[in-house]
Subunit: 238 residues, 2 copies
């Protein structure tokens, strides 16, 4: 072990500028709860290859731009969103994932509130689609299953799995909600992400007892406005 091999010497003198390099891109998985279902914002491709298929919004990373900065730029310029919870998801680097050229794509997870997902209406070039099933299927509000471009079904699957894995022990669920929210809304977020129904008293207890990152749920004393029956209390994270 630890001998200096010819490969070591070669790599020490390796000049990457002399070789072709992959392009580096970011792709954004924009997720929100829409009509009670976990949904992604997808963009219809209008150019070949894969014209007519639906893709994640993305863009190439500039030579003087960090990965995070590129993700923020795509969020703003391609999705028209000023702000969202953004976290890096996974990097996809299969040789043939894009038929035009070698592209290594760093996927980001962006979590949106319901009012950020809804304006992208069905029929437009960017639309929310419920993601469900295994293998994953993206279904638009009109019931149409949208064909996905490139390896984007794999990216969406990994995004959903990440979300399911983290929701129980992190504060990501709150990224889907406005600053003040009802416990029912929080439960609906959990149910949409996990794809299961949850027990209400146990859920309430767990959420009210829980401390995540030094923060916990506190009652605001205010109540939801538009309920047709008894309005629930609004909580916030503090």
């Amino acid at each position: 072990m630890a001998n200096i091999t010819p490969e070591d010497a070669f790599l020490n003198d390796y000049d990457p500028a002399a070789f072709d390099r992959p392009s580096v891109a970011v792709d954004l998985v924009l997720l929100g709860i829409h009509a009670g279902r976990l949904s992604a914002l997808l963009v219809e491709r209008d150019q070949p290859p894969q014209a007519g298929r639906w893709a994640l919004p993305g863009g190439f990373v500039g030579i003087e731009e960090s990965l995070d900065a590129a993700a923020i730029r795509v969020l703003r310029d391609k999705a028209g969103l000023a702000d969202a919870h953004l976290e890096q998801l996974y990097t996809f680097g299969a040789i043939d994932r894009d038929p035009r050229m070698r592209v290594v794509s760093v996927a980001y997870l962006a979590l949106l509130t319901e009012d950020a997902v809804a304006p992208a209406s069905t029929g437009a070039r960017i639309t929310p689609a419920a993601i469900d099933g295994d293998p994953l299927v993206a279904t638009r509000a009109d019931g149409e299953d949208l064909p996905l471009a490139f390896d984007h079904a794999a990216i969406l699957t990994r995004a959903r799995d990440r979300l399911r894995g983290k929701i129980d022990y992190s504060d990501i669920a709150f990224a889907f909600l406005p600053p003040a929210f009802t416990l029912r809304a929080l439960q609906e977020v959990h149910e949409a992400v996990l794809g299961t129904r949850l027990n209400k008293p146990a859920f309430r207890r767990r959420m009210l007892d829980r401390v995540v990152g030094g923060r916990r749920l506190v009652a605001t004393g205010m109540r939801e406005a538009d309920a047709s029956h008894r309005p629930a209390e609004l909580f916030r994270l503090a």
Copy 2:
């Protein structure tokens, strides 16, 4: 497939071939349990920049090589290891993380058994170092704290956090162990990763009841060989 034109690009008005691209590299976080502590294999840099500092083994990704293939190649050629549990960790893309050029580095986690970590002895160019504390410190077996190169302390920190987050609900602990192992060895892996002591009866119950990925612990009927007192039974995952 269609002609490759600038219009084919993800962003209609952006031709990546016309711009400088970052280099893409992989860095390997080689982790194992050494002397009861979670330890990483580090390589001493013998060239500037940062000569004398300790780095993760890494290498550039070839234009016709997937990220996973590059990680396997580095594992073999730079670390001299034929096989290990390999999983992608995170991609580091700050603009100035390498002073020589723009490098986007995809970090991989590689988990090794004790006999793969141990041969790299203290004093050699590649050495195991216990990683502990917050901020993270890498300590060689002789007690020396090793200065880390570039952003590799941040990479190691993220590797440790990933491990701690996954050990309770995945089978990664077994990647540190040979095919047959005692329950005490398994508990020592958990304790080294989490940095805490665990309750023995509860740990045994949990492990023997647990089913992860359709597999569970089964007794082999064999016992450990070199114990100076009552030898423990060997288990395997099946």
